[in-house]
């Protein structure tokens, strides 16, 4: 349904995305994962056909974004990072307007609006002005406008941004309910949400696609990735920085709790003996050192090492 081949986009001298290639099948829910500024929104804008790539090509439903954007516009529903709402309109009037804008047949407008209002739980605010809605409801209206014409492809840019925990769960349920009927591409910098919602993850970092696959396959490709838990009676100054310099260590996290300090090390090499020696040399008590497989978070942190670290190999 979606094909990207060597997509690149530059703004002036800045390369926002660099030779990104991937394929997304019909009915899949795929997440673009990356830190802020990684290039996720740029990729989504290109797929939405309202930003042209500087190089490479993108096809949505078989249509090229630079040759046939009008055809793509008929296929997609798009929710940008800020929902495109007119504050002076009511929810009902806005959705009717968008439905007509998106070629919903005159006789079907009311039916489609009722359907998306129900699907996104907007019934009790349907006569409210958009300007009076909370952030969560505005986001829901944003999703509703992306669904109102029953598009084959739905593109959601940071759909859970700014939502509270209850709203996040509702949004997650809504997105997963689209599985099979629509192809969904969404972006987020929140790893847990991507893994709970999506069939597949594309990890983007500094404009490049650094990994893709399911949570399980990503972890499998990084088999060496493990997490060491180091328990200490106290934390000496400079130990975290020293541990971070050990070969293979991607990230060191400090967890303060009752009865001592805990350090979590995400690493692709078994550095337990070096860790033990370093800790003992500082003179603090080593209460425990254990190894477990790292979660996807560890894989993610490893994939998106700081640019300068990558530059030094």
């Amino acid at each position: 349904m979606i094909v990207a081949e060597n997509l690149s986009k530059s703004y002036g001298g800045h390369r926002a995305i660099d030779s990104v290639s991937f394929r997304i099948g019909a009915g899949e829910i795929v997440g673009l994962l990356g830190l802020n500024g990684a290039g996720k929104s740029t990729i989504l804008k290109i797929l939405g056909s309202f930003l042209m790539p500087s190089a490479g090509r993108a096809l949505v439903g078989g249509y090229s974004v630079d040759e046939n954007p009008e055809a793509i516009r008929r296929l997609i529903g798009y929710l940008p990072d800020v929902p495109p709402l007119y504050d002076e309109m009511t929810v009902d009037a806005y959705l009717r307007y968008v439905a007509k804008l998106k070629n919903v047949a005159h006789g079907d407008v009311a039916k489609r609006v009722d359907f998306v209002v129900g699907k996104t739980n907007l019934k009790r605010v349907v006569k409210y002005q958009l300007g009076d809605l909370s952030h969560g409801f505005r986001q829901r209206v944003g999703i509703a406008q992306a669904l109102v014409h029953n598009p084959k492809v739905i593109i959601l840019d940071e759909p859970i941004n700014g939502l509270d925990p209850v709203q996040i769960v509702e949004m997650r349920d809504l997105i997963t309910s689209l599985r099979g009927q629509h192809t969904v591409v969404l972006s987020s910098h929140i790893l847990s949400e991507i893994t709970r919602t999506c069939d597949r993850v594309l990890v983007v970092d500094h404009g490049r696609l650094v990994a893709e696959g399911s949570e399980a396959s990503l972890q499998a490709t990084m088999t060496q990735t493990m997490r060491l838990t180091c328990e200490l009676d106290r934390l000496p100054e400079g130990l975290i920085a020293t541990l971070q310099k050990l070969p293979g260590v991607a990230k060191v996290q400090r967890i303060t709790g009752q009865g001592g300090e805990r350090l979590l090390l995400d690493t692709d090499a078994d550095v337990r003996s070096q860790v033990a020696k370093l800790v003992v040399d500082t003179g603090v008590g080593l209460l425990g050192l254990s190894r477990s497989e790292a979660g996807l978070e560890g894989v993610f942190m490893k994939l998106i090492k700081p640019a300068e670290e990558r530059a030094h190999g």
């Binding site: 930003l51 516009r73 008929r74 997609i76 709402l85 307007y97 804008l101």
Partner: protein, 242 residues
């Protein structure tokens, strides 16, 4: 055409659902009423046709200012609020969007002019004017207001916000207004070119005296289409710039 009308209807409703439309209409009508009594009717005796011509002369300035104010928000506000993306991801062309937006301002300008009809109608109390004179004057007011709106719409398309759009649009309009002065100080062929391009000096007065020239209709039509098409190009180019 259905999409053009859809966009125009939404914009028109937006004018009436916010204070913007009411304020601009009320201000235009208030100032027109004031100037009609103070200057067009005045205190010295005049022919009815002169009163009407004078009324059209200053009403043209108000029509231009209204055109600028009404159109300056049309695209700039969409950019500010992030709603432009709705059109970029919907099956509507940039041309349909621009012409729909322009149509809404055009319709609003017609409403303002229609509401001001009572002013020249007052002339009938003590005088006599021809309906042809009245029609040609109002046609000119609508055309010059629409031309100013098209210029302002273009400014709105190239500006990041309404304020900049208003200032830019005013600058463009003033440039077109004073081109006749430039024409006075340059040699041919620029003299003729600048003189022709001036938005008011040569093209408006015949209308205000009840004379409709095809060349003046073509001029205002050309200015409108030129700036609308420039606005379309600006929006199309945004897809490449990002």
């Amino acid at each position: 055409m259905a999409k053009v009308l859809l966009v125009a209807r939404r914009e028109l409703r937006a004018f009436f659902s916010t204070w913007m439309g009411y304020i601009i209409a009320a201000a235009a009508l208030f100032i027109e009423g004031l100037l009609f009594n103070a200057y067009a009717v005045g205190s010295s005796p005049k022919l009815s046709a002169e009163v009407l011509s004078d009324y059209f002369y200053f009403a043209s300035g108000i029509a231009m200012v209204a055109g600028i104010f009404l159109a300056m928000r049309l695209i700039a506000e969409e950019k500010q609020n992030g709603t432009l993306v709705l059109f970029y991801t919907s099956p509507i062309s940039e041309r349909q969007l621009i012409y729909g937006k322009f149509l809404s301002v055009f319709a609003f300008l017609v409403v303002i002019q229609a509401l001001s009809l009572y002013l020249p109608a007052l002339i009938f109390i003590n005088g006599k004017i021809s309906f042809g004179h009245l029609a040609s004057g109002y046609l000119a007011l609508i055309l010059i207001g629409a031309a100013a709106a098209a210029i302002s719409l273009f400014a709105s398309a190239i500006s990041p916000n309404q304020l900049v759009a208003g200032v830019t649009g005013t600058l463009f309009l003033v440039t077109f207004l004073v081109l006749w002065m430039v024409a006075d100080i340059v040699e041919a062929p620029f003299k003729e070119i600048f003189g022709y391009l001036a938005i008011h000096n040569r093209h408006f007065p015949p209308f205000s005296q009840g004379i409709v020239h095809t060349r003046d209709l073509v001029y205002y039509g050309s200015v409108i289409v030129f700036f609308l098409e420039c606005s379309v190009r600006v929006l199309e180019a945004r897809r490449w710039r990002g």
